[in-house]
Amino acid sequence: MGHGNYSHAAHQAMLADRAALSANEIFAQRGCHALMDPRGLKARESRDSADHPNSMPIVFALDVTGSMGAIPRQLATRDLPNFMKLLQACSIQDPQLLFMAVGDATSDRAPLQVGQFESTAELMDQWLTWSYLEEGGGGTGSESYELVFYTLAQHTDLDSWSKRKKRGYLFMTGDELPYPAVARHQVSALLGEVLDEDIPVEEVIAAAAETYHLFFLIPDLQRRRRCEARWRELLGDNVICMESPDDTCAVAAAIVGLTEGALANLDAVANTMKSQGIAADRVSATVRALKPYATRLDPDAVRRMHLVGGAGAPARAPWWRRLFG
């Protein structure tokens, strides 16, 4: 029997158009999708089910301002399946993904978009590609990241938390600062609910942190300067400075693996990534980005690294000793 190569190529051309398409064609929304509009939002629920008894809520809040469009595009064309594969490799049982989009509420038309928690790849993909990449923002040096914390704290309901006291994960990508407080007029305009007063960003972070591990991912080292210091004040070691936006999925999957204890340390991270076919340079970049966070999870790591001659020290003498010793 034959091969189907020409039909394969023809089919690939229909599929692969996705990779060849511009972001505008994949993300065809030209305004906030009605189902992602947070107005009147009650709660986004992450529920256990017969098929997914150990739901593990993971939220991607993607900065969709002009400078940050690369990450949603990579996710849609390439990385979402890889992310699921990596989570599987980290033995995370039943991940449920929620995609949010965040922009600048002082100037954008759709600065807050909220999908639903989903367990199947195609529905995840659907919410992701329904996101409207407004590419606004700019000017103020801040984006409305605080609205994401507020939404998670006020408007999500997690079985993992209520049944098992397990927190979910937020991975927010961005390269600017949050506004100092959640503005009540914005909450009223976007979500249609009334607050008595503005809420300082520290407070919404504390509220969201009750049910989520919060991470802020800065896409590359150039953009680190703009915002790292402030985010460190707010989130400490949970600010992850990546070397390239390409590593977003690997970093996020590794963080879940490390935090859940499925990956014991950075060596395990590196091995798992390699076994999943991630290029060696991307693996080392991922490991470097995760070092501060992994060190906090395992405070002994640093001491172990400096324990020369103690138990577990390398059996082979260092090269200079072999040369000169």
């Binding site: 091969h3 020409y6 089919h11 064609e25």
Partner: protein
């Protein structure tokens, strides 16, 4: 239908022959089709594809080193003036035709579209059929059938299930109607996928297929290409095809796949959605008013199988045999080789009916530095439990000795339960070989002729048509 003229106007009597694979495919139909087209190229030659679709892969190598894997165009297309007819019930994949045509142009064949006729009744494969077919195969996981991923089976299945939605080649010229039908098709196939496969295991290969089934823009993209093909090769009425065949001095029916993959004779479920044998040739010939057709069985000097399914004489030791164009890649999976198998040949011959001769390829596989080929003359069943399951069922095996199976039987023309039983039997079968390895091509030919009850007419001793030798003569 117009009655067939016995003689063509210029006084040459028409010859019609079919090439039918007797194995699991990859037997050399491409090579022999190329050869017979060249043999009679002075007069008009038309090659008819009468079964299968874009999953066919018939390799032709020219002495100057050019190579093409023919899929929908006839394997004789390197020969000038040889026409291809895609006859009903072939499943047409228009966008794959475009891709194949581009490949042919690169090999120096620039006029293949001008030498192509497509029956307007032929079913057409859309990307949605292909996506759903692939999702089904992925959902089978370990129980995969060995699909080529070309969407052929899904196209047939859907047309049986929803005949009113079936899309035919003749409809590709009517844009507005085509748009409506394709939209309905997409919705219907997506619904089916959601109902049948919603909880299929997460496989990274599934995500793009789901995305395609849900993508509202794919239909339009496909329609544009498919209409482009139909503009170059408009579907033709059966009468036009009959005219072409009746006006040809030589009509070659080029079979796809092989008898052992036939939808009813093959080992269910590792089969193709297509009828392979002489009866399928006869149906198309009758439709076109072509009289006598001589049927030739095509096979290699050893057995091959591409993709899943039982193969008792499989021997990894034979992998040293060079194979230029059948790598174990893509959708089908592993390419396996096995020793020549008398039981399967006898069974293929039984399913095909009487043949006028055999064409045997790869007769150069007997050499000092080639792995020896052994003749399998029967099977023993592995393990007591398995043998108990089969010894009682006298209908499915012939046994000369108490424990040696030397033949498989058929039960009715369309009994898939029986075919499933045969699949189980073959999976448990342990081949019994002659003590000595086959000494040379002559020893193999003698045995093939005994089992098939006909002469080996042509044999090939190399990759191109130049290496084909007339053995018992081709008296046409």
């Amino acid at each position: 239908m117009v009655a067939a003229p016995v003689r063509l106007s210029h006084g040459v009597s028409r010859r019609a022959l079919s090439l039918i694979g007797l194995g699991f495919g990859d037997c050399g139909k491409g090579l022999f089709t190329d050869h017979v087209c060249r043999r009679w190229a002075r007069d008009s030659v038309t090659v008819v594809r009468y079964n299968g679709g874009a999953q066919a892969g018939h390799n032709v190598v020219l002495p100057d080193g050019r190579h093409h894997t023919f899929s929908q165009f006839a394997a004789g297309s390197f020969v000038p003036n040889v026409w291809t007819v895609l006859a009903f019930p072939v499943i047409v994949h228009p966008t794959a035709l475009l891709v194949e045509h581009e490949h042919l142009v690169r090999q120096g064949v620039v006029d293949a579209f001008a030498r192509l006729l497509v029956d307007s009744r032929c079913l057409v494969t859309t990307p949605f059929h292909q996506a759903l077919g692939r999702l089904r195969e992925l959902a089978r996981a370990a129980n995969a059938h060995g699909s080529c991923g070309a969407g052929v089976g899904e196209t047939v299945r859907h047309a049986q299930h929803r005949p009113e939605q079936a899309l035919r080649y003749g409809e590709l010229t009517n844009g507005s109607r085509l748009r409506d039908k394709v939209a309905v098709m997409q919705r219907s196939l997506l619904e089916e996928a959601e109902q049948a496969l919603a909880d299929a295991a997460f496989d990274p290969r599934a995500a793009p297929e789901w995305a395609l089934l849900r993508d509202a823009r794919v239909g339009e993209r496909w329609i544009e290409q498919a209409m482009g093909v139909a503009a170059r090769v408009p579907g033709c009425e059966p009468g036009r095809i009959a005219e072409r065949l009746q006006g040809s001095a030589t009509v070659v029916f080029e079979g796809a796949q092989g008898m052992l993959l036939d939808e009813w004779a093959g080992f269910h479920p590792h089969t193709t959605w297509s009828s392979v044998g002489p009866a399928a040739v006869r149906a198309v010939a009758d439709d076109a008013g072509i009289g006598d057709v001589k049927h030739f069985g095509v096979l290699r000097s050893y057995l091959t199988r591409h993709g899943r399914g039982p193969m008792p004489t499989h021997d990894p030791g034979l992998d040293a045999v060079p194979e230029a164009h059948n790598a174990s890649d893509g959708w089908q999976g592993e390419f396996r080789r096995g020793h020549p198998d008398a039981v399967l040949l006898a069974y293929a011959r039984l399913c095909a009916g009487p043949l006028d001769g055999l064409f045997v390829s790869h007769l150069d596989a007997f050499g000092a530095n080639q792995p020896p080929l052994r003749w399998c003359h029967g099977y023993r069943i592995q393990g007591d439990g398995d043998s108990a399951a089969f010894h009682g069922s006298s209908y499915d095996v012939d046994r000369v000795q108490s424990d040696l199976i030397v033949g498989l039987r058929r039960r009715g023309d369309r009994d898939l339960d029986h075919q499933t039983t045969l699949t189980r039997l073959l999976s448990a079968a342990r081949p019994a070989y002659e003590r000595e390895a086959l000494r040379d091509a002559a020893a193999l030919i003698r045995r093939y002729e005994d089992v098939a009850g006909c002469r080996v007419r042509l044999g090939s001793f190399g990759p191109s048509h130049e290496a084909v030798r007339s053995l018992a003569g081709l008296d046409l």
